[in-house]
Subunit: 357 residues, 2 copies
């Protein structure tokens, strides 16, 4: 069975404002190095999957930004979300696109995560493909928790899929836990962080979306017809508009039987906030993690980011996140990085300020 | 006796970085309204002093910036400090310039202070001119202290110059005090803040500079000759280079006999730091004082400045000063605003960062 991959490049990454902006979302930013997170994600799979079998789902408003990256993926495999409808609809779009030519394994990858080791990623994915061969319908990839994180969903494992297989049947999916629950999960040993990476046959997921997600059947049937006739951005818009907004986790994974979890052999982070990004920045003697031109006097344990040709100077502060990018600056305590999204939403709702987001 | 005025527009106002920059010093900034502090200062005296009797001393490197303001002062009355040499040399330059045409009263005004009421200022100055008529050699203007400020010099008054005159002989000048000393001054009632505004005859101050400041006699004698021959920027540079760097307070006022102090009838601030500027910004319900586009969530008692077309957003902070101007942002606690100068000096000493200062 051939292997296709779909990279989910929707979303905005609002918690990275002011580095992320409406037209420069997180996955298009070089948060960790020279290339964008989307390019890094693509770079991890192109040694194993031909660009002719890679699909990218991205916001239609970002078409020119995505196309300017020279990703090497044929234009017909770029799927434009005219409206954002979460991951179930995006994966359905990719699955039906694959199915035009016949069934195949379909690997789903978020575009904006950090993965420590592409070879280990691939080893783990091959374990997942073997599970599909053995008849498991859906494969998830679980990250052994390093601490009691409350920002991730968890996967509880059940029986092993075989002796020493390194994979298990999924007992249950769990929503983001509270702090106490997260500690219990961490101690228990049978819980994984849900990496958001999935593997299944295109035909299987298309069928399960139709079965479990109300309204997906008509949307997918219409899409199947449009794809055969040759789809255009208006067709994609129609499809996404017709699709319910639901994640693949809620829509399918939690409802399906025969879900397996492979324990990841790679380091992983969803790079969800400035504090998680900062773990990848060098720490100086004062405990500050900085990027760009920064002057810090008598300041400790801060995350200090200055982008492009500009300077950030701090005096006498601690435990702060300060991000200076172009025409905007954000200041918040490290403990409040989750609240950046709220200020972005407040800003976007103000016509006078919208241009800064 | 005619009245001339000299506006001292040297200095950089480094504590206002990043709003102030090397080529955009504090006195050229519109810190309090639509016009620069220099223009406001000029506006307070032009109703009373003809522009042909106003002198401005400014840094030679700021010539194009100052000339672009259309101040209405004849070009020959702009005195360019080729090198900064503090106030004694600047006042000496103005005094000798006045003396080319004959003696006159000379009013000295800093260019970068706030004064509440120009009419009250003028009333106070007229009291000073009367003292000159009565034979007092040097007149200072004292501000009744509002709190135990440690950032100002103090003037201790002695005997009244006359019954109910509102002016006194100066008993002593005092350097910036420690906190306890400042409280004593405040309670005592005989101490004023030194406003930095002075009044004397041009001939008197030129004579006292020659008498009390070592090296000023040769510098002023050479200047007198250069002024008669027609001075050029090279001549000004020679003069300032030959002059000692000392303030008029240390150089003359503290050493002279016959110094009087007039109690000011106007509100005054030297606008020395972000906290003193902020007193002139409106305070909102959360205790924040803001200027420009600012989004503040769950933040209190901050000074938040965003200049030009840009946005400053803060979440969950308090008692901070954050200033976002163009390519630079400063963050420091309110209690550390005096330390901004130190970070500017560190930045200027770093070739890689100098462009931001």
């Amino acid at each position: 069975m051939d292997l296709h991959a779909v990279i989910l490049a929707g979303g905005r990454g609002e918690r990275f404002w002011p580095l992320s902006r409406n037209r420069r979302p997180k996955q298009l930013l070089a948060l960790l190095g020279e290339e964008s997170l989307l390019e890094s994600t693509l770079g991890r799979i192109t040694p194993h999957v031909s660009p002719t079998r890679i699909w990218i789902v991205a916001g239609a408003d970002l078409q020119s930004e995505v196309e300017s990256l020279s990703l090497g993926v044929p234009p017909g495999q770029l799927i434009w979300e005219g409206v954002g409808r979460n991951t179930a609809a995006a994966i359905g779009a990719a699955a039906e696109s694959v199915l035009v030519e016949g069934d195949a394994d379909l690997l789903v990858l978020p575009s904006d995560h950090w993965i420590s080791d592409a070879a280990a990623l691939w080893q783990t994915i091959e374990m997942g493909r073997a599970l599909l061969e053995q008849g498991h319908a859906l494969v998830t990839f679980g990250i052994r928790p390093l601490y009691a994180e409350t920002g991730y969903g968890y996967i509880e494992r059940g029986e092993p899929t075989g002796p020493g297989s390194g994979s298990w049947r999924v007992a249950c999916f769990h929503e983001k836990p509270g702090p106490e629950q997260a500690k219990t999960y961490l101690r228990n040993g049978n819980y994984y962080w849900n990496s958001g990476i999935f593997l299944f046959r295109a035909g299987t997921i298309a069928q399960l979306l139709r079965r479990h997600v109300a309204g997906m059947d008509q949307a997918l049937d219409r899409l199947r017809k449009d794809l055969r006739d040759g789809i255009d951005p208006a067709g994609w818009l129609r499809y996404f508009e017709a699709s319910p907004a639901i994640s693949i986790d809620h829509g399918v994974m939690e409802k399906a039987d025969s879900v397996a979890v492979v324990e990841a052999r790679f380091g992983w982070s969803d790079l969800g906030t400035w504090t998680s990004i900062a773990e990848h920045l060098p720490e100086n003697a004062a405990g500050n993690r900085t990027r760009g031109e920064v002057l810090a006097q008598d300041s400790n344990n801060c995350i200090l980011v200055s982008d492009g040709d500009g300077l950030l100077a701090v005096v006498g502060v601690k435990d702060l996140v300060v991000v200076r990018v172009g025409d905007a600056t954000l200041v918040c305590p490290k403990s409040r990085v989750q609240d950046v999204r709220a200020i972005v939403q407040e800003g976007k709702s103000d016509a006078r300020l919208r241009r800064f987001f």
